[in-house]
Each structure stands twice: as structure tokens, then as C-alpha cells.
């Protein structure tokens, strides 16, 4: 299993990515860490042609996607070139610790 880590609410089953001490939906502090399956759908995607830091600039740019995981939350990932909204993807954590979406 190499999917992104999420938090899960033991009371209402809501799942999310950003670390919190309690559930953003119901307020329960019964929060546990779970590994996401990595399966999801592209909610949106962009090819960044002008990076915020010059050391990140690469010819042709790089893709960034927002992926809605089957577990519920939407997370930001690096994206394989050419992904389109609605495509099924697998999100894995790369060696550089960044999540990346590739066609499922």
C-alpha cells in the first residue's frame, strides 16, 4: 500500500487529508490515520508552464491535479501529462514524497 495518508472520523466516517485534532464535519475527536487506496477521479488538472520557483521550471511544464479519492477527500497531486477531468487515476506517493496521479 503506497496511497496517501488520510484522517478518518470514528463517529461520522468523514475522511480528509489536512491534519486536524477533530472532525471538521461533526467535531468528534475520535480521529484515526488511514492509508487511502489511491483510487480516484480527476476533479481538475492544470499544466504549470511558469513555476513559482525558477528551479522548478521544466520544458513543457508539469501537471498538477486535484483528485477526488474514492474515500471522499479531494487532494492535490503531481499529474501525468495529458490527464483530463473525469479520468480514473491511481495516486501513489513518489520517492520524493510527493503524491502523483497516473492513469488507472
Amino acid at each position: 500500500m503506497n496511497g496517501p495518508m488520510l484522517q478518518s472520523c470514528g463517529a461520522c466516517c468523514r475522511r480528509w487529508q489536512f491534519r486536524r485534532g477533530a472532525c471538521p464535519a461533526c467535531g468528534s475527536a475520535e480521529v484515526s490515520e488511514i492509508a487511502a487506496s489511491g483510487q480516484g477521479t480527476v476533479w481538475s488538472v492544470t499544466q504549470v508552464m511558469r513555476a513559482p520557483l525558477s528551479e522548478l521550471d521544466v520544458p513543457g511544464g508539469y501537471g498538477i491535479a486535484l483528485v477526488t479519492l474514492v474515500e471522499g477527500p479531494r487532494i492535490m497531486c503531481r499529474a501525468e501529462n495529458g490527464l483530463a477531468i473525469g479520468e480514473r487515476v491511481t495516486v501513489t506517493i513518489r520517492a520524493d514524497n510527493l503524491p502523483a496521479a497516473t492513469r488507472a
Binding site: Q47, M49, R50, S54, I85
Partner: protein, 379 residues
């Protein structure tokens, strides 16, 4: 009751050698004079942050510099919505009886006071430090993600978004203070350098130096009476990863509250001052707030609906996209133009009327914080 009694904006663009306090001082003194007030009458200050002047107490710096003796002063930071939230805060301070004349102030040398890399890096910091910024996302990338989703949902095209950039440039051409005035067409926008797909350079506002100020008062003051008739805020998320699926939700929440308090609807408005950091920002606002059908903001702009002679004249100074964007002063310049139009003081840009009702709206972050208000000319 609160009234917008004094407004001022410097030219936007390059002000080499002027730091943030210098630019803010110019706008502040001009706005106080415009309100017809002696300095000692100003008893409140809401001062924006400045990225080129990262001080813990910018408001107090400006109190000292201007020689104010306020009963309330503080620095506000709600990103691009700071000026709008500042005007609402001023209204609340007046309603609470804490102040009678509140100066809302913003300005900085964002263009010449730092490198382009520093500016872009600072702005990218509105992203999540663990889950967004390390991916190489930038503010244009965050808005590009929302733009791509908007185009997907509405069937609008990049060319439709480009119409909004063309419109802002046309409006800026009539304002001597605007940063970008060279006429452009849809083809120029489409051919401009890609930044983060679907956004090209001309879909993005420039970085600018400049300052703007608005005085909010307990009484109308001299000349036309411009009353703050309704207001609303919404804060739905900070990071685009947690943005609601409904892209227009926060904007609609804030606007609904504002219209309800004013006892008006969107269709009553005769002038708009809407935040336009990127063309999709403007498209989503126009469509979420009921000024255009979904996906139709661009085509309706092309048809003249948002021009000076249209039904909903929009950002007649050129907006952030062409008048310019120096941070907190960016949206305040929209308010300055709206008030001048409502007073009938906009010269060659003047809308017939002058317009009796206007709606102003800004967002901070990535559609994160919203503040909107209805202005009504009551005399």
C-alpha cells in the same frame, strides 16, 4: 448607517523609490481631503498588510505617519478581500458607536519593491505548506485548477474567458491612472504566454505599485450620499484542495446576505465592482451572483452587457486585470471607481444616471474568503 464619504487611488504601475507607507500616505491624505474632513475627525483606521513592508503593526506606522489620533486602529489581512472586509469592519465599528470616520487603507510597491520571484513565492504561500506548496503550485495554478473545472462544468471556452480581459483593457484605456492601456483582442489573449493551463498571461492581473483609500462615515458628508445598504461575508475554506464542489458557493453566500440586508436583488444593480484577479474569477462571480447565466459571462461581455452603456457596467477603471493589482489597494480601487461613478464624477468614463445602486465584491485566497456590499445613492 454608514456612508462612503471619501475615496482616493493613486495611479497603478511603477512608483520606483516609493515604499508602502509613502504610497499609503498619499492615498490616505487624498481620501480624507475628498471626504472634506479635517485630519482629527478620522477616529478609526483599518490598514491592510503590505508584502513589501512585512511589519507587525502597519496600522500604527500609518497612525504615526499621518498624525491620526484614532479610537481604533489595526492591521487586517484577508488576502484580496482585505479592502472589502475592511469596509465592512468600518461599518461595524460605526454601528457599534466606537468610531465616526474610519479610514480603510491599502498600498504597496509590490512591483518595484521586490523581485518577481519573491512576489510569486510570497503569493504561493496562501497554499497549504505541506500538501500544496511543495508540489510546485502557484496562485495562478490554484486559480487555473478552478478555471479548468469551471470550463468543464459550464462548457465555456478559453476564448470566452478572454473576452473579460479584453473588456477590462478597453475600460482601462479611458483611465489615466491605469497600468495597462494598450488595446488587446481575444486573439492577443489566446496567443499570450501560457502560465498554467487554461490561463495565459493576459488572463492574469499584473503586479503593481499603488495605493487606495476609502473613508467610511456615520453621516453622508458633502455632496452625493453613498450609503452602505447591505453587506455579507463568507469564509468557506482556505486551500483550493478543500474548496466546496460548488465553485460559486462562497460568493453567493456573501452576496445573498448583502442583497437581503439591502432589500434588493442582483437585477436592481446598475454598476458592478467585482474582484478580477484572473478572468475566471470574474466569470465565476458574474455567473454565481446572477449577472450572467452559467458559462455566459464571456459571450455577454462580448455583447456589451458589462460595458459603460450596458445593463451591468463593470469595473470601469479597468479592474485588477488592467488598472493593476498592488495587493490590498487592488479591490479598493474598484470601490473608488464605483463611488466616483455614483457621484457622477467619472468624467469621460461616466455611466449615464449616475447609477443609484452598485454591488462590490472581493475574494481572498482561492475563492476562500468573500465580502460583498451594496451601495445606494440616497441623495
Amino acid at each position: 448607517m454608514a456612508f462612503l464619504t471619501g475615496v482616493a487611488a493613486t495611479a497603478f504601475g511603477k512608483h520606483p523609490g516609493s515604499d508602502a507607507p509613502t504610497l499609503m500616505e498619499t492615498a490616505a491624505r487624498t481620501a480624507i481631503t475628498d471626504a472634506g474632513l479635517p485630519l482629527e475627525a478620522v477616529d478609526g483606521l483599518v490598514c491592510g498588510y503590505a508584502t513589501t513592508f512585512p511589519h507587525l503593526m502597519t496600522a500604527t506606522v500609518m497612525v504615526e505617519r499621518l498624525g491620526l489620533k484614532p479610537r481604533h486602529a489595526h492591521q487586517a489581512a484577508v488576502g484580496g478581500a482585505t479592502g472589502a472586509v475592511g469596509i465592512l469592519l468600518a461599518r461595524h465599528l460605526i454601528a457599534a458607536g466606537a468610531c465616526r470616520h474610519v479610514l480603510v487603507l491599502g498600498g504597496e510597491n509590490r512591483l518595484t519593491g521586490q523581485s518577481r520571484d519573491d512576489a510569486v513565492k510570497t503569493l504561493a504561500g496562501v497554499g497549504h505548506p505541506v500538501h500544496e506548496v511543495p508540489l510546485g503550485a502557484s496562485v495562478p495554478a490554484y486559480y487555473a485548477l478552478v478555471a479548468a473545472r469551471h470550463l468543464h462544468e459550464t462548457g465555456a471556452s478559453e476564448g470566452d474567458l478572454a473576452e473579460l480581459a479584453v473588456l477590462m483593457r478597453r475600460h482601462a484605456a479611458d483611465h489615466p491612472g491605469a497600468q495597462l492601456t494598450k488595446p488587446i483582442g481575444v486573439d492577443d489573449v489566446m496567443a499570450s504566454k501560457p502560465v498554467a493551463t487554461p490561463l495565459k498571461l493576459l488572463d492574469c492581473c499584473p503586479i503593481s505599485d499603488g495605493a487606495a483609500a476609502v473613508v467610511v462615515s456615520a453621516e453622508p458628508g458633502q455632496g452625493a450620499s453613498i450609503r452602505l445598504a447591505g453587506w455579507g461575508e463568507a469564509h468557506t475554506h482556505q486551500h483550493v484542495s478543500e474548496m466546496p464542489d460548488d465553485l460559486g458557493l462562497g460568493a453567493r453566500m456573501a452576496a445573498s446576505a448583502a442583497f437581503e440586508r439591502a432589500g434588493r436583488t442582483a437585477s436592481d444593480m446598475r454598476l458592478l465592482g467585482l474582484y478580477d484577479s484572473f478572468t475566471p474569477t470574474l466569470a465565476i462571480f458574474l455567473e454565481a451572483l446572477g449577472f450572467a447565466a452559467p458559462g455566459q459571462a464571456g459571450p455577454m461581455a462580448r455583447d456589451g452587457l458589462f460595458g459603460r452603456d450596458g445593463h451591468f457596467p463593470l469595473n470601469l477603471h479597468g479592474g485588477l486585470l488592467s488598472y493593476g493589482h498592488p495587493g490590498v489597494a487592488g479591490f479598493l480601487a474598484h470601490v473608488v471607481e464605483v463611488v466616483r461613478q455614483m457621484r457622477g464624477e467619472a468624467g469621460t468614463r461616466q455611466v449615464k444616471g449616475p447609477p443609484p445602486l452598485a454591488y462590490c465584491h472581493a475574494d481572498g485566497g482561492v475563492f476562500s474568503s468573500h465580502a460583498g456590499f451594496v451601495l445606494e445613492r440616497t441623495a
